[in-house]
Amino acid sequence: MYSDLKNKNRNKLFIIMAVSLFLCLALTVTSQAALGDRTLSQGSKGAEVKDLQKRLIQIGYQAGKVDGVYGKSTTAAVKRFQKNRGLKADGVAGKKTIAELKRLTGESTTASGKKVGIKNNDVQLLARCIHAEGRGEPYIGQVAIGACVMNRMESSQFPKSIAGIIYQPQAFSAVADGQINMAPDETAVKAAREAMNGSDPTGGAIYYFNPAKTTNKFMWARPQIKKIGKHIFTR
C-alpha cells in the first residue's frame, strides 16, 4: 500500500532526476558534439572531425594529420571510402557515410551481441613494417614482405607473434632506424590484410634481400625461391 505523501515524494524525486539528466545531456552535447550529429564537409572543424579522421585511419584510409580540420586530404580519404563502399563519392560525410564508417570501425561481437574488441590491431603494425621496408615496391612485393613475417610465425626459428618478429633486434633495418614509426600508406594496409589472410606470393620464404644493396654472405647463401620487384625471397 502507498500513501499520498509517499507518492508526492516519489514524483518530486522523479522530476529532479529528469531535470538533472536533461541538463547533463544538454551540457555534454554543447561541450562535445558526437560524430554523426551533423553532416561534415570540407572546412568543418572540431572534435567530430578528429573522430572521423581517426576512424578513417583505423581502417586504412590516410586522412592526413588528425587535427580536427576537414581539409583536402580528409575530403579525398572520405571520397575513396565512399567509392570503395558503394556510396555516393562526394567527399561529404553525411549520415550514411558516417554510419558505415562507424559500423566498420566498431567492435566484434559474439553470437549474443557481447562486444569483444576490435581484433585487427596487428594489421596496423604489419602495415607499418611493410611500408617501411617495401614502399616503392609493386603491390605483390609488399604482400610478399608481409607473407615473410607471417611465415616466420610458422617457422621453428622465430618468435610466434607479429610484434615479436617485427621488433626482434636486428631483424628489420627499418625498425632499427625508426622508419617503422612512419604512417603506412593505403597500399601497405591492403597488403598487410592480404598477408594476414594467408596469401603468400613468396612460396614459403622467411627472408628477403635487395641484391643491389646486400653483400651479406649469409643472405646470399640461403636457397632462393623467386624475385619480386627489387627483392629476392629465400628460404
Partner: protein
C-alpha cells in the same frame, strides 16, 4: 679604427665566443647524459631478457626431468604443460636479445621444437595416458640438448655478472690489442674441446668473445655439434617440401604461357597475351608471367596456375558480398574447380573468399583456395591455390561413429544449428576425419569437431561477428 673600438670589438667577439662555447658545452653534456641513459635502458632490457631466459630454461629442464619419471597422468600433463609454457616464454626472451644473423640460431630452433612437441604431448598424454616409445625417445633427446643449452646459458649469465661484460663488442682498446683483455668462454666450448673436429667448435675457439652477444654466438656454434632432431611437428609448415596435389609431368615455357592465357581468358581477359618474365624455384616453383597489371605463376610440375593477382584499379563498388561470391563461383566453374565457400571478408573495394574442396560431402579444410573478388564487377582479381596443391591427396574417409553417437559427445548446453563431415589439420602433418557441428552455447557461436573414428573432441573454434564478416578463432 682607434684603440677604443678595437677593444670594444674584441670584448664583444670574445663574449659571443664564450656564450657559444658555453652553450655547445652544455648541449654536449646533456646529449652525452641522454645517450648514456638510453644505453643503460637498452642494456637493462637485454639483461632482463638474459636472466629470464636462464630462468625459463631452468624450468623447462627441471620439468622435463620430472615428466620423464611421472607415472601419473594428471601430474605428467601438468609437467608437460609447464615445459610448454617455459619453452614458449624462452622463445620470446631469445627474440628480445640482439643477434647478428637472426633466425639461424640452434637454440631458437631447439626451444621452439620443445615448445611444439610438449604442446602436442600434453594433448596426447591427457587423452591416451602416455607417450609411445618413439615419442619417449624424442623427448629424451630433447632433454639432453636442453640440459646443455641451459648449462651454457647459465655460464654466460654468470660470466656476465662476474666480469660486468657489455652487450656489444667494444672496439679493441689498448689492453686488448696487447692481448690482456677480458674474454668469455662458454662452458660448452671449454669442455668439449676434445671433440674439436667440428667446424663450429673451431670457429668458436678461434675468437674469444668480449661481449655477451659474442658469447651467445659462440654458444650457438658450439652446440651445432648435435645432430638436428628428427622431430617434425607443427612448425615449418610455411614451406612444403613435397606437394601432394600437383598433377604429373613437367611443362615448358610455351605451355606455361598457354595455361596462363586460358586462365586469364576465363577470369575475363579475352585474348590475353601473358609473357614469362622470370622463374621461381622450389617444389611449387615454375614460371612467373605478367599481362597488363596481372601477375601469374604456373608450376613447372603439373603445369597449373598456383597464384594469380590482378593489380588493376578498382572502380566504384557496385555489388554486395553475396553477389560477388556468386560471380566468383561461376568463374571457378569455368576454371574447372568445384569448391565450397567457407568464409568471406569484406575489404571495401574487394572481398577475400576462402573456398575448400569436398569429398563425399566432407569439407577438406587443408585443400584450400584463396580468392579475391573485385566489388566493381565481380571479377576474380586474386587466386592462390598453393595450399590446395600442397596438401590435396586421396584420403580414406571411413567413420566408426554414427551421427547420434557423435552428438552424444557434445556439451549438453550446445545447441546444434547445422552439421557436416570435415577433414581438419592436426598438430604435425596429421589430419582427422570429424563430424563438424556449428551451434551456440552460453551466448557464443562455436564449431566443434568430433573425431569420427574414436569420438574424441578434436578441435573447437569460436565464431565472432566482425564488421567485415565472420571470424573463426
Amino acid at each position: 679604427m682607434n684603440d677604443y673600438t678595437k677593444k670594444k670589438i674584441f670584448i664583444w667577439l670574445s663574449l659571443t665566443f664564450f656564450i657559444a662555447f658555453g652553450l655547445s658545452l652544455g648541449w654536449g653534456i646533456y646529449e652525452n647524459k641522454m645517450l648514456s641513459k638510453q644505453k643503460t635502458d637498452t642494456e637493462n632490457q637485454y639483461k632482463r631478457a638474459l636472466n629470464d631466459l636462464t630462468t625459463d630454461l631452468n624450468e623447462v629442464e627441471t620439468s622435463m626431468a620430472k615428466a620423464k619419471v611421472s607415472n601419473n597422468k594428471t601430474l605428467k600433463v601438468l609437467y608437460l604443460s609447464q615445459i610448454w609454457k617455459g619453452s614458449d616464454s624462452a622463445v620470446d626472451r631469445l627474440s628480445q636479445l640482439p643477434a647478428d644473423e637472426i633466425g639461424i640460431s640452434y637454440i631458437d630452433t631447439l626451444v621452439n621444437q620443445v615448445s611444439d612437441f610438449s604442446k602436442s604431448m600434453t594433448q596426447k598424454v591427457a587423452s591416451a595416458g602416455s607417450m609411445n616409445t618413439k615419442e619417449q625417445e624424442t623427448f629424451d633427446q630433447m632433454h639432453q640438448r636442453v640440459i646443455e643449452v641451459h648449462r651454457a646459458a647459465q655460464q654466460i649469465a654468470n660470466e656476465f655478472y662476474a666480469q660486468n661484460l657489455a652487450w656489444v663488442d667494444k672496439s679493441p682498446g689498448i689492453l686488448q690489442k696487447l692481448g690482456i683483455g677480458k674474454s668469455l668462454q662458454t662452458a660448452a666450448q671449454g669442455e668439449e674441446k676434445g671433440a674439436g673436429t667440428n667446424q663450429g667448435d673451431e670457429q668458436a675457439s678461434q675468437q674469444n668473445a668480449t661481449s655477451v652477444r659474442g658469447g651467445l654466438k659462440q654458444l650457438d656454434s658450439s652446440l651445432q655439434k648435435y645432430p638436428p632432431l628428427s622431430y617434425e611437428g607443427e612448425l615449418d609448415k610455411h614451406f612444403v617440401e613435397k606437394p601432394l596435389g600437383l598433377p604429373q609431368g613437367e611443362i615448358n615455357e610455351s605451355k606455361a604461357a598457354s595455361v596462363a592465357k586460358d586462365f586469364l581468358n576465363d577470369v575475363g581477359y579475352a585474348g590475353a597475351d601473358p609473357k614469362v618474365t622470370s622463374l621461381s624455384q622450389g617444389p611449387l616453383g615454375g614460371f612467373n608471367l605478367t599481362y597488363k597489371n596481372a601477375y601469374l605463376e604456373v608450376s613447372k610440375k603439373g603445369g597449373v596456375v598456383t597464384y594469380y593477382r590482378d593489380q588493376r584499379e578498382i572502380n566504384d563498388r557496385q555489388l554486395d558480398v553475396q553477389k560477388a561470391v556468386d560471380k566468383a563461383y561461376s568463374t571457378l566453374q569455368k576454371l574447372g574447380w568445384s569448391l565450397v565457400v567457407t568464409s568471406t571478408e569484406d575489404l571495401d573495394s574487394y572481398i577475400h573468399v576462402e573456398a575448400v574442396a569436398q569429398e563425399n560431402g566432407a569439407r577438406l579444410y587443408a585443400d584450400k583456395v584463396r580468392l579475391t573478388v573485385a566489388m566493381d564487377n565481380g571479377e576474380l582479381i586474386g587466386f592462390d591455390a598453393n595450399p590446395y596443391y600442397a596438401y590435396h591427396h586421396d584420403r580414406i574417409l571411413d567413420k566408426k561413429l554414427t551421427l547420434d553417437q557423435a552428438k552424444s559427445k557434445l556439451n549438453k548446453d550446445f545447441k546444434i544449428i547445422e552439421n557436416r563431415m570435415a577433414v581438419i589439420s592436426k598438430l604435425g602433418n596429421e589430419e582427422a576425419f570429424c563430424y563438424e557441428f556449428r551451434g551456440t552455447a552460453y551466448g557464443e557461436e562455436y564449431l566443434i569437431y568430433i573425431n569420427a573414428k574414436d569420438g574424441s573432441e578434436e578441435k573447437i573454434s569460436r565464431v565472432i561477428d566482425t564488421p567485415r564478416g565472420k571470424l573463426i578463432q
